[in-house]
Subunit: 337 residues, 2 copies
DNA sequence: CTGAAAGCGCTTACAG
DNA sequence: CTGAAAGCGCTTACAG
């Protein structure tokens, strides 16, 4: 590897001390009353030689890395991929880089990843937490490593978070189905205990209690393969022939559900109304188009980065518990001919 | 932040020199003939205290980071997200972390990202290259920074790459349409000059020349918004009413195409046959299901990491130019009733 | 206004 | 078998 330039080379070339160069580089020239002329000479040479400070040396001294760890459930999921992309962009514009990882909702893996990111001295973390990592989060708070939870939070943990009002979204979805005359509405959800899933179930129950008949709950094992999930949904629908409306608690459950329903040859919209939680391209393109609860992904990404950065700069003193509002996007899957 | 343990603390606790601890930690105890007993004592204490070497200090000395940079076109695209996920997994199992970035096919952004990753001293890079970064790649070769290209490669650059046989995939897709009796087959592609896109166009042309009539080429501006792309495809189809088969050169073009075709109220399969390059969930779930050219994503991810790691360990001397075979997955969109 | 020097936590050539 | 010490490239308290 071609010998990299060091601050020493710059200093020598200009016949000044490395201290001076360092001050200029860190924007402390004014404060240290280094002459404008000299400052400019340093900046010019740095630009001309394309000198980049060694990140390790700097990190060793300062302990900062300008890196943020982003731990999501599964980066291959459309929702997480899109939000990761936006977070990457906002972070990048502030001079931060992102290291992403996927947990698959595996507590052990989440623990390892957090350990790994701490070891790499990330300056902050963004996490979709699974239950069972409360101790790690508490530890991070004690050691002053800033983090923001998103998509869900953990009861009992007092920490910044950005989530969508899942109860409200589920309520809107279920009420919409009931009002459209689909009077036996089921929910298809996972067996996970996460806060957002619990909220979605409660939103469903609340709408059913108010406007509907009785709860019809199908739980799909979180670690099912796609084929197993499709089969499980099919079995559920066969066991409950009265169902004429379904609220799918996640985007991937809805995708599996579409496969199951098509296998059963039910006519979507006519025989059975459908709403998905979380909007995506599939629901716009599928025919009939699928009514969905849309999350404000862009606003979430922005909020998350904003909170984390101000926390990292020690600006925030109070807790930021942000609950954004979802929106129901009405499409053809909840319309009878 | 709680004071972190250093190698000094471990050494002091055990009354040995830091040299000894360092040798043990780096698996050089045997070679340095450090007694088994002492070695074990060190390892025990390290485990017990959960001591982690400071990554900066190590990096400053060795220049290694155990980090790989992954630069893809767009992490929110299903193909890249899935492959990134797999690469992450394989890399992780070998003790490496991944930093991802998205280029949006913007040469300037790609250049910046490569610069940023070099600055961060990644040990290696995985890149979906855009034309215009040849000099950077050559520079990396000169400075011995290992990298592997994937999805596409650059003519004129002699470097390891892993791609899918795009010519073959496009040929299969187009020939399949023609054989099924869709005798006026168009290709919808981008205006990009990338090797894989050029190959797909050539595969299309070759099949048309052999089995078909004349070339019908629709080019969509790569930086169109989704709505613009849908409109452009619609306009193309209206201008060419004879078209009864379409080969979409990418997954997202196919998705836009489905929207356009539905807007036009064409019956897929009957009036117009469709094949997409790159398979994804949408094509399995959509009704009718969509015939697609499937890329061996898992094999690609494995190959990429394998080549990069062996290159990083200086094991590879010869060039690895891997071309994997795609597969045509026949579905309903190319079947007439 | 500017510089000499300590020190961050490692690795490793050298000495014994 | 083991250790004292140099040095990686920075930042910054201190001195002038």
């Amino acid at each position: 590897m071609a010998k990299k330039l060091s601050i020493k080379d710059i200093a020598k070339e200009l016949n000044v001390s490395i201290t001076t160069v360092s001050f200029v580089l860190n924007g402390r020239a004014k404060e240290k009353r280094i002459s404008e002329e000299l400052t400019q000479k340093v900046l010019d040479l740095v630009k001309q030689t394309d000198y980049k400070p060694n990140i390790f040396a700097r990190g060793l001294r300062t302990g900062k890395t300008k890196t943020i760890g982003l731990i999501v459930e599964n980066i291959a999921n459309h929702f997480f991929a899109t939000i990761a992309r936006l977070i990457e962009e906002y972070a990048y514009s502030k001079g931060y880089k992102i290291i992403y990882c996927s947990t698959d909702n595996d507590v052990q893996k989440t623990r390892e990843l957090i350990g790994m990111l701490k070891e790499r001295n990330v300056d902050g973390l963004i996490i979709t937490p699974s239950a069972g990592i409360e101790d790690l989060l508490t530890g991070m708070q004690e050691s002053n490593l800033p983090f923001v939870l998103f998509d869900r939070h953990l009861p009992g943990i007092k920490a910044d978070y950005v989530v969508v009002d899942s109860f409200k979204g589920a309520y809107l979805a279920t009420a919409h189905l009931l009002e459209k005359g689909y009077n036996k509405v089921a929910i298809i959800t996972t067996d996970s205990k996460q806060s957002q899933m619990a909220d979605r179930l409660n939103g469903y129950k609340s709408a059913v209690k108010e406007l509907g008949d009785k709860n019809l709950i199908g739980r799909i094992n979180f670690s099912s393969s796609p084929a197993e999930a499709v089969m499980a949904i099919k079995t559920f629908l066969e066991a409950h022939p009265e169902v004429n409306g379904i609220f799918f608690a996640t985007n991937y459950l809805a995708a599996y559900g579409l496969e199951a329903i098509t296998n059963l040859n039910f006519s979507i919209g006519d025989k059975i109304g459908i709403v998905a939680f979380d909007d995506e391209q599939l629901f716009r393109i599928y025919r009939p188009t699928i009514t969905a609860v849309s999350q404000p992904i862009d606003a979430m990404a922005k909020k998350v980065i904003e909170i984390l950065l101000s926390r990292m700069e020690n600006k925030t003193k109070t807790l930021d518990e942000i609950v954004l509002q979802p929106e129901l996007v009405e499409r053809m899957s909840t319309k009878r001919k």
